[in-house]
Amino acid sequence: MPKRKLDPLPSAAFQILLSLVDDDLHGYGIMRQVEQQTDGRMRVGPGTLYSSIQTLLEAKFIEQVDLREDVKLGPARRRYYRLTSAGRKLARSEAERLADLLRVARAKKILRGEYV
């Protein structure tokens, strides 16, 4: 069952879900968005990316939208992916779980400086 593989939610899958929150993206767009939202710390390679996408598709957390051009990248048509409502829910619950962890870490005073 794909869902089992998503519990706990692996980091790459969480990042992919987050990358799709604002807009539908194709594979290269997701890679760039993940890179941007992690300040360049994570750059997902093609094998890892599409492996994760496949599992998220099977679990219906994302869906394929259509093949279309990306005017910035040229006329080749690319497959776009979209976050489903279940995927959005999963991303939110994962964010809440991490926020809980952060609260614990704060309480134990292991963080330095200001954190939001």
């Binding site: 593989k5 194709h26 496949q54 990248l73 048509r77």
Partner: protein
């Protein structure tokens, strides 16, 4: 070459992965290769790919279904080693160093084993750029979806890895025969023919690849010799028609009626605040049908102090209409370069146009990535003649300058048969598009151009 290597690497993944995402992964590689040029970025790209390969390949075989990246950090399955993404936590410096050395050695070994050290440096990238972006379309209206053929090269998912040797041989022979018979420069045609044969004999064409990849490979092999971006080999999954599709009188009548019903694609003509004339038209339609519509639109701009042509949704059309509209903007005949045609008297605008008061008015053209073909002809020439200021995005890059030759049911090629004199530059807009004078997002281009026009008029 780089693309070939990566295509080879992809072959090592399970068939289920390749079928579902093989072509997409290859496309992602092309996108990265196109953007990450130069030694260091290319090196970084390959390090990423090798690390990704090492992580994702065992996992693809280790699980019944592909598991998620990084899943192994939390739970292991059947004792298969699994990994966390390296970027999450930087490895030790010595590990990075050894990894880099091993990666380099592996890369060099593959290069040497294939026997072409650096011969193709950049060719893979170049062919990546050209994939599907080598538009070719029959010139005659009515058009029947040229984009379908143009994009066929890059949309062959799921990948068909089974293009056989006989098919390849037939396509190569067909390409050589057509080049020799039709290419504008016979000496270069001969050189290309020799190069295609040499590649074939060396086994460059023997790697497993689908029709689209094979077409791109041949395109890059021809362009390596001719440096002519208008040369293109095209693969179409749909069978190509035996004969050029002749438009029947009924089709032509329907085309004419539809065009007239659509006001010849002239969508909007108005005078904006500041007495700026605005004309939006979404094609350059056949003047034999639309001359009067175009003339009426241009006449209604006469009283404006500046003109904005909105070509953001203009997908092209007839060069004759390009000349007709451009004629209004000059008080003397002006040479308009068109890569499709040799210089004739038709290369000069029929200026001045009686009654036109637009010859000395500032002109702005709004562009987007969808501005295409004949619309780019209009943009390119007016920009080069410094007769218009382009505002918006770089255009699509469709020069359509090859003449179509069918090779077999799935392959055909565009071959330039004329060599038009370009007085402005060595290159035109094929593949690269026309760059605007003022960059702006397509949706903001009208506002930007209006501002520029008002500023210019105030200076007067």
């Amino acid at each position: 070459m780089s693309e070939k290597i990566y295509a080879w690497m992809l072959l090592l993944y399970p068939a289920s992965f390749r079928e579902a995402h093989g072509e997409e992964a290859l496309q992602l590689f092309r996108d990265r290769a196109r953007h990450e040029r130069g030694f260091l970025p290319t090196f970084g790209l390959w390090v990423d790919l090798l690390v990704d390969f090492a992580i994702s390949l065992p996992r693809e075989y280790g699980y019944d279904r592909p598991a998620l990246a990084g899943a192994g950090a939390y739970g292991r399955s059947h004792g298969v080693p699994s990994f966390f993404i390296l970027r999450e936590k930087l490895p030790r410096v010595d590990a990075l160093f050894s990894g880099s050395v091993i990666s380099l050695a592996a890369l060099a070994a593959v290069w040497i084993l294939l026997g072409y050290p650096g011969n193709y440096a950049g060719a893979g990238i170049a062919s990546g750029q050209s994939m599907g972006s080598s538009p070719y379309a029959p010139r005659e209206a009515p058009r029947t979806g040229p984009e379908d053929i143009a994009s066929a090269n890059s949309n062959s998912a799921p990948a068909d890895w089974s293009l056989n040797a006989a098919e390849r041989q037939r396509v190569i022979e067909g390409a050589i025969a057509n080049l020799k018979a039709h290419y504008v420069d016979r000496d270069v045609a001969q050189e290309m023919a020799e190069a295609l044969r040499k590649h074939q004999q060396r086994g460059d064409d023997d790697l497993p690849m689908d029709g689209g990849a094979f077409a791109r490979l041949l395109t890059s092999q021809m362009r390596d010799v001719a440096h002519d971006m208008h040369l293109v080999m095209v693969y179409s999954r749909e069978p190509l028609p035996d004969h050029p599709v002749e438009a029947t009188p009924e089709v032509l009548a329907r085309y004419r009626a539809e065009l007239q019903q659509d006001n010849c694609t002239f969508k909007s003509v108005e005078i904006l605040p500041g007495n700026i004339g605005y004309l939006k038209f979404d094609s350059f339609p056949d003047p034999s049908i639309c001359r009067s519509t175009a003339a009426a639109a241009m006449a209604s701009l006469n009283r404006a102090d500046a003109i904005i042509f909105d070509l953001r949704d203009n997908r092209g059309g007839e060069p004759a209409m390009v000349m007709l509209i451009a004629a209004y903007l000059f008080d003397h005949p002006e040479y308009m370069y068109n890569p499709r045609e040799n210089t004739t008297e038709k290369s000069w605008t029929p200026s001045p146009v009686p009654g036109s008061k637009l010859a000395d008015k500032p002109v702005y053209i709004l562009t987007s990535g969808s501005t295409y073909s004949a619309a780019e002809h209009f943009c390119y020439d007016l920009k080069m003649l410094k007769r218009a200021t382009l505002v918006g995005e770089t255009t699509g890059g469709g020069a359509h300058s090859g003449v179509w030759h069918r090779i077999d049911e799935h392959f055909g090629m565009g071959i330039p048969e004329t060599k038009a004199i370009n007085p402005f530059s060595k290159t035109d807009w094929a593949e690269v598009g026309v760059e605007p004078d003022v960059h702006a997002k397509a949706e903001d281009a009208l506002e930007a151009a209006t501002k520029l026009a008002k500023g210019r008029l105030q200076e007067k």
